[in-house]
């Protein structure tokens, strides 16, 4: 509500102002995706700016370039998770988690004095991976766009009307024939009621003939309009 109150400065006195907020289009899983996106950006920035601190803490000195590369990967995943394509961002985070786990496993050597830190990091990454997977699944389910190829299985009444009357004319020249189907309730734009001589009234530009600027009025079928 703070931002809404500040933005009221840009409104005039008669404009409506928010009193109470209601249900949002932004779901809990969307919010979690956004949080994970910000987490990615933060972690990515750390990996790019201070990779040596991370490798030292894990006893994996010499892997700074790899950690920095992972930082860029985190930034990319974070930006995607914050964008409209959050599904792609979250699943790329899951893939990135796999890479992180594989890299950390390499640090679980007996001669690594920081083996305990690596184990702790693995547990953290494992937990985050579970969270990433759960969020990615929820977001994918919430924003799934059904893909129906071929058969018309739509539910909305207007579309059912359209599909029942689906034309079968070969592609190309049959469009106006289909238009003249008097029972085409989905169309309801009957060119047959517009005699061809009137459709083609005037010169050159088809239906519209040059008229006075500002007239833009229909007179029966004799259209007077704007020639662009």
């Amino acid at each position: 509500m703070m931002m809404e109150k500040i933005s009221n400065i840009a409104r005039s006195p008669g404009d409506p102002k928010v009193i109470n907020t209601g249900p949002s289009s932004f779901g809990a899983s969307d919010r979690m995706a956004r949080n994970l996106g910000w987490f990615s950006l933060g972690l990515g920035a750390l990996e790019i700016v201070a990779p040596e601190r991370i490798t030292r803490a894990l006893g994996m000195e010499g892997q700074e370039s790899l950690v920095r590369a992972y930082g860029f990967r985190e930034i990319a995943a974070g930006m995607l998770s914050l964008s409209v394509e959050k599904k792609a961002g979250l699943w790329s985070r899951v893939a990135g988690d796999g890479l992180d786990i594989a890299t950390l496993m390499a640090g679980l050597r007996d001669d690594n004095p920081k083996k305990g830190n690596v184990m702790m990091a693995l547990m953290m990454v494992g937990g985050i991976t579970l969270l990433d997977i759960a969020t990615a699944q929820q977001v994918t389910a919430r924003h799934a766009t059904p893909t129906r190829r071929g058969a018309c299985t739509m539910t909305a009444p207007a579309i059912r009307r359209g599909c029942r009357r689906r034309a079968v004319s070969p592609p190309g020249r049959g469009a106006r024939r289909r238009l003249r189907d008097p029972g085409n309730s989905c169309l309801r734009l009957s060119a047959s009621r517009l005699p061809p001589e009137n459709i083609r009234a005037g010169t050159g530009g088809g239906l519209l003939v040059a008229g006075d600027v500002g007239s833009g009025r229909a007179s029966g079928y004799e259209l007077q309009g704007y020639r662009m």
Partner: protein
């Protein structure tokens, strides 16, 4: 009152807000009876159009009953009148309005100085849109203040339902203007990218204007079916090459007229690699729009043809093939819709039964369900093509 309010990217809420008040003698207040979610609302939903502020009320397709009029409306409206509100606010008196260029009215944008700086010269004020176009509260609400109400309205004749006339405020004249801008000839093939509501209206308008062949391009079966029912030959760009198919359907010459009913948010897919690059640039704030359709139209259009662009673009685009555009001698026509230029004749068509734009409605729900319907419409769930909200 209840209203659908923008709180940030993908965050629309049904809020309780204060009622609008008359501010100017030319204002009127309407009780909204029906409003709709437009494809361009999704650009705001995704925060692709700059200068939205938390607390902005959405919606620019609405109609209702006049409940209060200012003293300067001069009898052009009275309590009880049913009106459709065009999405462009017009004064009816400036030079542009007198020319019929209503969407670039010089007086209705209350943030004119900002718009002058961003656009070079101001455009008209728009309802439920960015503060670059005035930041006027929109009509996805129970009540709406209509500025310049004496000019900014379309009176509804008795006996017509909301569903018959609601789309006179935006998508019907937008599709119509897109087709008119093409100067359609009887031998023309008109290719229309996007079979959403505006695309559907453009298909029917091109048909009415006498196009020989109309080709509609989309990927969603329900929208392609609706386009076919409107008389178009369809191309599913996920199953076939748009350019190859368009050339095949035009004896290798390409369509004479091309209409972009997509705008800034072209579908991103591996089959259209430029859309992936555009999306990456968008995320990194290196580009505002994804102009895949523009590129494709320029490439496939027949030399000497016309490109009509009703689809909304927000800012800067990359990699537009100006060499192809120039050397092929293509004409580009675009713009927000000059709604009131077309409404009289379109209303006449509706009254005479030639057009019933209600065919496009797939969902009618209460205003409270608006936030959920934004998600359904955006994700193309439940075969959603057009949502009408009842206040």
């Amino acid at each position: 009152m209840k209203a659908l309010v923008w709180h940030g990217k993908e965050d629309i809420r049904c809020d309780t807000v204060t009622d609008p008040q008359i501010e100017d003698p030319r204002d009127a207040i309407i009780k909204v009876t029906s409003c709709a979610i437009c494809g361009s609302d999704l650009h705001l939903f995704h925060n692709f159009i700059p200068a939205m502020l938390p607390g902005d009320i959405m919606g620019h397709e609405m109609m209702g009953e006049v409940v209060e009029v200012g003293s300067g409306v001069n009898g052009k409206l009275k309590k009880g009148d049913r009106i459709v509100v065009p999405f462009t606010i017009i004064c009816g008196e400036c030079e542009q309005c007198k020319r019929g260029n209503f969407s670039v009215c010089e007086r209705t944008n209350r943030n004119k100085k900002l718009a002058d700086k961003v656009f070079g010269h101001t455009t008209a004020g728009l309802f439920g849109y960015t503060h670059l176009t005035g930041g006027y509260p929109g009509g996805q609400a129970e009540y709406l203040r209509v500025p310049f109400a004496d000019a900014t309205h379309i009176k509804v004749p008795d006996g017509m339902s909301d569903e018959q006339v609601l789309f006179l405020g935006d998508i019907l004249p937008t599709g119509w203007q897109a087709a008119v801008q093409c100067d359609i000839e009887p031998t023309d093939t008109v290719a229309i990218w996007g079979c959403g509501p505006v695309g559907q209206m453009a298909i029917r308008s091109a048909m009415l204007l006498g196009a020989n062949q109309i080709i509609a391009i989309d990927r969603l079966p329900e929208r392609l079916s609706m386009a076919e029912a409107g008389g178009a030959t369809t191309i599913n760009f996920e199953n076939e090459s748009v350019i190859e198919r368009l050339n095949e359907l035009t004896d290798g010459k390409g369509p004479e007229k091309c209409i972009d009913c997509i705008g800034t948010e072209s579908h991103v897919s591996l089959g259209q690699p430029d859309t992936i690059l555009d999306r990456a640039k968008q995320i990194m704030l290196m580009e505002n729009d994804r102009p895949h359709v523009l590129r494709e139209m320029i490439y496939v259009c027949r030399p000497g043809g016309i490109l009509s662009i009703p689809g909304v673009y927000g800012g800067l685009v990359d990699k537009i093939p100006m060499g192809q555009l120039m050397n092929k001698g293509l004409t580009v026509r675009t713009g927000q819709t000059h709604v009131n230029r077309w409404t009289d004749e379109l209303l006449g068509y509706i009254q005479e039964g030639h057009i019933d734009p209600s065919f496009v409605i797939t969902h009618t729900v209460s205003l409270e369900k608006g936030p959920e319907m934004y998600k359904v419409f955006r994700d193309k769930q439940d075969s959603c093509v057009k949502v009408v909200l009842k206040a």
